[in-house]
Every structure is written in structure tokens, then in C-alpha cells.
Symmetry: C2
Subunit: 406 residues, 2 copies
């Protein structure tokens, strides 16, 4: 059983948070000076811990536990959104560092290695989950060539600028048994339930559509309803459909959002000539995602052209759901229980590197609570005791995996 | 039977349209240089026609047919919206000039005078229907003191700047028998029906509400539906209610509009924290207006506070409907019929000076078609033959009123 050093864990997390410090949070977008400096710092900590560490060509910081033939990978990302929180990604990386360091100290690293990684650009400043995609060889030269970031800089220009060199660190099927990622929940469910550990059963797929309607502007007093080509009316009908019908087509964990609505020209006394909204829905079941998409598009199709108004739907984002490994989910529950903390099984409504890695390696995520459900903001936080608990649970999970034939 | 001079009518209309000419339309907002110059021109045409003409203190141009004790008032307004049409208001004023001029020439002005007026600021650049409100003594000093226009200039400053002087021309109950206003329809109904003359039975009242909802922004992936305070959801429900239920609460001529909708912060993956829309509805029946308002406010009340979202409605405009005089409406039908043109009875969905004057004098409006239903735009137009027809109908209506005890 690995004993982690809680004070060292917290000290390393606070040291990392000084790179790009921004109030109580961090501004450490990928390929920024702060991001590059934090990666060099992390590589040096890995080397100190006894790992064979390097920064790969795209910026992934990888620390290899060299004395074992087989290893689990523990990691997440150290890049942030602009003015982001200090825990989002960073916590999961330092968990890996602390667990592998403790295992080396305690002589457990011959039984099963823990390779640690900070993936590059999970937040998508240039290309969402760049580092984990590269690790999984799930990235073409064309994908890379298309991507660009702040100020229009291309991803390839940013890679050249950072000049890490060498090759990309890729998954080794003979070596890597599993991928484990701990993260703050970024939502309110653990806090609402009074629980401290979440075990993620799957990461949702996302479908996002832009709906646009085109009609004709007219005087809203002098134009009879029957002669109008009101572009707001079908949009309102569709938005109402989303909020009343998606629940019946989806499952218990399905979420949806009408996050953007706009009507033009936007005057009280002018019949709208154009309208637009963005609808998204998320679930871990492809079948549910397909069913909702079909329902929505059938509505759009049925309304298109009615009363002289065009109604069009355009897919603007689509990602596949990823299920976590069922055996690892069960082990997650068991280690939580053994620590005296009943776990909550939950889906992750946000994307993570585990969404990518989970397609090629048995994976699981552990969540700790987000205070007030807040993240992607400098106020993001979790109590120190929950940070330590999460690391203890993850260390215990590695111990359970030692004997497992994955 | 008054014979009007069609060429002179059209020539005067084109002469007036040169003041503030703007492409095929006019930009002649009240108290602008173009507006002031056009009023002096109009006063001089009235004087030439044999009327006792003056510009009153607020800018109403009034021409009195001095040889009769009793008179009908014919008029409308010569101010325009910015980049407006050449007919909106102006046509009705020049109709009055041509009819009274023809009656004087034909010696009919002793039987029944026709006083002509161009009311000031019907379009509300400073204060909607300012001139007709002043004429009806329906305007307090406080109303005037509150009003302001372009660049923040107060109405009282504009009046001082224009420096017309004198008193306000007010309704004379002993003299004035009726008010007649001709106007372009500003809508598509006559054109759609293939008819050339509309007789207005009433001018709608307008109720306008701003609905605002306040919730909380959250991650749209990680926040379960049940834990959201989604500010868009009740707004969408209410907008849908408007488009499905107002028709059942209203009558055949009720119109409504959701002309403005907005959701903040407006991102696909963020649960909306605020939302806003503007709803209006119009009808000539107070009972219907009250019924719809009660229905809407009951919905707002029922939703307020549900799922942690505040829902508020604020009345931002309310005007009373005005019914036209039933005897004059019947006469309007008769003169149209006598000209071989079956009329369409219709409500006016837009406000007019007759909405104000109709509350204190028996009034009626005649409409001619708007090409393509367009107005409040420089493309606004009507055929010359329809312009002439409308003036002939109005002249015939004056003849019918001669013998009428109103």
C-alpha cells in the first residue's frame, strides 16, 4: 500500500500554481511563457523523483518509471484556460508525480511502474486534447496544420517557437496497462450530495447545432399574422421543443442547453427577419445522441419553408462519448469505500484527456468536489483534505491494479 | 361635388418631397432644418389657397377656411422617420390642401370649411403625436418637459430653437365637425386583396412588455438539468406561450410580436444567467388587450422563482385603442363604392394622429395601398392613380359630411 506525502503533494501543487499566477488562479494557456516554464519545472521534479523525464515534441511532459516493464499512466494537463483555476488538470498531474515518487521511495516501482504525464493543450488553445491525441497517435499532419491559436499563430509555429524537439511520446501497448486521471468535478453534484469522491463511468459525447431562420422584416402592427414571414416563431418553437422533448428522448444523465439566441433586427415593433440559436446536448450513449439529433433535425425539416421562413440546422461540433473501463470503475468504488468515503458514480459532462486515452487504454477518472461547482475561473477551489483524499484514493487504485490482468 | 386637380395635387406632393429629399424618400425628422423649411413652404401654399394660415407654437401648420363657421379638419403630419418614405403623413396633408383649395375655387367653402393641418412630430422624434396632442389639449407641461430628441436636445429647447411663437392651435368644439386623415396603409392587406381603398374602423392600442429572467451561469456539461438555474428556459416557455396562446385569447385582427430576444452570456456551453425579450400585442378592443395582458402576467407570475430563476415583466409602452366614428366609416364605404372601388374595412395596426384626435372629434381614416406593404423606408411608394383616387374619395367624403349632423 503506497503511502503518499500529503505535505509534499500540496507544496508541489502550490509551486506549480506560481507559474502564470493570476489572483487565486492561473493563466497558463498552452505554449505561453508561463506554460513553457511550468513544463521545465515539472520535468525537473520528475527527474528528481527518479523518473526518466523529457518534454516531447508537442510539449507533453512525460516521466517514465524505468525499473518496471509494465506501468499505468497517471496524468492530466497543466495548461489552463485564460484566467482559469489552479486545480483544473494540474491536480491530476501532481497526483501522478506524488504517487510515483512515493512508490519509488517505498520500492514499489519494480512491481508496477507509474508513468506520469502532463498532456499539452487539453484546453484547446490551439487544438483540444492535442497532447493526448498525439500520445494515442490520433492526430494527422493535416489536423495539426489547420490548428491555430492566440493572435492567429499556427500550432506548428507555436511548436517551432517552443522548440522542445525530439519525437512524440506515444502509447506503448506492451508497457501501458491503464490510464488514470484525477480531476476536480467542475460541477455541483458531489457537493450537493455531501460526497467527496466521484468515480467516472463515462465521458459524454457532445453534439452542437447552429439553427438559423430567415424570414422578412415587416411592421409588427400593420402586417397581419397570416401574412408574416416571422423568423423568430420557428426558432421559439424549436427552443421549446428542446426544453420539453429532449428529456423524454434522453436518459437520466442527458444534458442540453440553448446557450445562445438572437433575433434580428431586434426591435419591439418589427417582425424578425432573421433568428439564430445554438443548441447542444451531451450523453455517454451514442444511441441517445443519435435519437436526439434525429428528433431535432426532423423538427427542423418539418418547419423549413413553413410560412415563408427558412429553417436550417448546421452541425458545429460533434465528439464521441468514451466509456471508462468497467473493472476500473468497480475498483474505484472499492478504494473509496476502503478509505471510508462512499463514492458517487457519475458521468463527466466535460471533456478530458481520458476521453481520448480511454479509447485505446483501459481508463478511469476520479473526481474530487468543486467548491460551489465552480471551475474555468480563478475562484475554482477544493479543500486541502479533499485534495489529499483524492491522491490517496488514486494511489490505492494503483495498488489494486498491480494484480489485475487488464 | 368637389372636383380636385390631380396634377396640382401630385405636383405639390413632389414639391414637398424635395424638403429633406433622401434618395426616393425623405429624411425630415421634426424640428430639423428640412422640417422647418417644409412647414414654411406649406404655410405659404395654404395662404395662396385662400386659407388663414399660421405655424403654431409647437410647429403645427394650420390653415383655416375662414368663410365658414363650421369645418372638418383634414390633415396628418409632414415630419418623417429618419430615411423615411415620401408619402407617410405628407400625402394626407396635401390631400387637405388640395381639397380645401378646390372647394374655395368652386365656392363650396361657405357651406362647410375644410381646415388643414400638418401636425408636429407624429413620428415621436421628441414626443409621439406631439402636434395632435397639443391640438386636443391632451398634453401637460410635465409631459413636454420630460421629452427629448436627437443628441439629447429637450423638446422645449427644440421649440425655442424653432421659434414659431404664438399660441397652440386647439380644437374648437363649436367649429370642428370631424377629423379626416388619409394615409398609406403601411401594410400588405389592400395589395394582397387587390383593393385600392381601405376604411379604418379603429386604431389599435398597444401593450408592450419587457420580460427579464435572472438565473446563474454554469457549465452546460457538468451541471445536471435539475441543479441549473437556467434563465433561458422560462423565457423560451413564455415566448412559446405568446405564439400559441395569444391567438386564442385575441380576435381576428389581434397581432403580436416577439421582436427582441437575448440570452447572456451567450455561449454554447454555458447555462444562461440572464435572458430578455420584448413582447407586444395590439388590438382595437380594450377587453382583448386586458385579457391578453392578464394571461401573460399570470404566466410570468407562475414562472417567477421556479427552478431558482426570477421572471419579471415590465410594461414599457401602453396606448389606448381608438375607434373611428361608425357613421363616417359607413360614409367611407359609400364614397368608395360610388367611385367604383369596393373598400376594405380594416384596423390600423400603427398609430396615427387620428388615434389622438379620434378621442375628441368624430374621425375616420382612409388608406391607399402601400406597394409591397413597405413604409418607414425610402422605398415606400403608391401609384399616382391610387394617390389621386384617395384624394377624390376624401373630397367626396367631405361633400357627404356637409349634410350630416355630427
Amino acid at each position: 500500500m503506497t503511502q503518499i506525502n500529503a505535505e509534499r503533494l500540496l507544496a508541489d501543487m502550490r509551486a506549480l500554481a506560481r507559474f502564470g499566477a493570476c489572483g487565486t488562479g492561473v493563466d497558463r494557456v498552452s505554449y505561453s511563457e508561463a506554460d513553457q516554464a511550468s513544463r521545465r519545472w515539472l520535468r525537473d521534479r520528475m527527474t528528481e523523483a527518479g523518473l526518466t523525464a523529457r518534454i516531447d515534441r508537442v510539449g507533453n511532459v512525460a516521466g517514465i518509471s524505468a525499473r518496471a516493464d509494465r506501468a499505468v499512466v497517471i496524468g492530466s494537463h497543466t495548461d489552463s484556460v485564460p484566467r482559469g483555476g489552479w486545480l483544473d488538470g494540474a491536480m491530476g498531474v501532481i497526483y501522478g508525480l506524488e504517487i510515483t515518487r512515493s512508490r519509488i521511495e517505498q520500492g514499489l516501482d519494480r512491481t508496477l511502474g507509474v508513468d506520469v504525464v502532463s498532456f499539452q493543450d487539453e484546453e484547446g488553445t490551439y487544438l483540444s486534447c492535442l497532447g493526448s491525441r498525439a500520445f494515442c497517435s490520433d492526430l494527422s499532419d493535416a489536423d495539426m496544420a489547420r490548428a491555430s491559436g492566440p493572435g492567429g499563430e499556427t500550432l506548428n509555429a507555436a511548436i517551432t517557437r517552443a522548440n522542445y524537439g525530439g519525437s512524440v511520446w506515444v502509447r506503448d501497448p506492451q508497457r501501458h496497462k491503464a490510464y488514470l486521471e484525477a480531476h476536480i468535478e467542475q460541477g455541483p453534484r458531489l457537493e450537493a450530495a455531501g460526497l467527496r469522491l466521484g468515480v467516472v463511468t463515462g465521458i459524454v459525447g457532445i453534439r452542437r447545432f447552429r439553427i438559423t431562420c430567415g424570414g422578412q422584416a415587416d411592421h409588427a402592427g400593420t402586417t397581419p399574422i397570416a401574412l408574416r414571414r416571422d423568423a423568430a416563431r420557428p426558432l421559439i418553437h424549436l427552443a421549446h421543443w428542446v426544453h420539453t422533448e429532449v428529456a423524454t428522448l434522453g436518459g437520466a444523465d442527458t444534458v442540453w442547453n440553448v446557450g445562445m439566441m438572437m433575433v434580428r433586427p431586434g426591435a419591439a415593433n418589427v417582425v424578425p427577419s432573421e433568428s439564430e440559436m445554438v443548441v447542444e446536448f451531451r450523453d455517454t450513449s451514442l444511441e441517445i445522441l443519435d435519437r436526439i439529433e434525429q428528433g431535432l433535425l426532423a423538427q427542423v425539416h418539418a418547419m423549413d419553408g413553413r410560412a415563408g421562413v427558412t429553417v436550417k440546422a448546421q452541425s458545429i461540433a460533434s465528439s464521441l462519448p468514451t466509456l471508462m473501463d468497467a473493472r476500473l470503475v468497480t475498483l474505484g468504488d472499492e478504494v473509496a469505500c476502503a478509505l471510508g468515503e462512499p463514492s458517487m458514480r457519475m458521468v463527466s459532462g466535460a471533456g478530458h484527456d481520458a476521453m481520448i486515452v480511454g479509447r485505446v487504454l483501459p481508463s478511469v477518472m476520479l473526481f474530487v468536489p468543486s467548491i460551489g461547482g465552480r471551475s474555468h475561473d480563478i475562484v475554482e477551489n477544493t479543500t486541502d483534505t479533499d485534495i489529499v483524499l483524492g491522491c490517496q484514493a488514486l494511489a490505492a487504485l494503483v495498488t489494486r491494479i498491480e494484480g489485475l490482468d487488464l
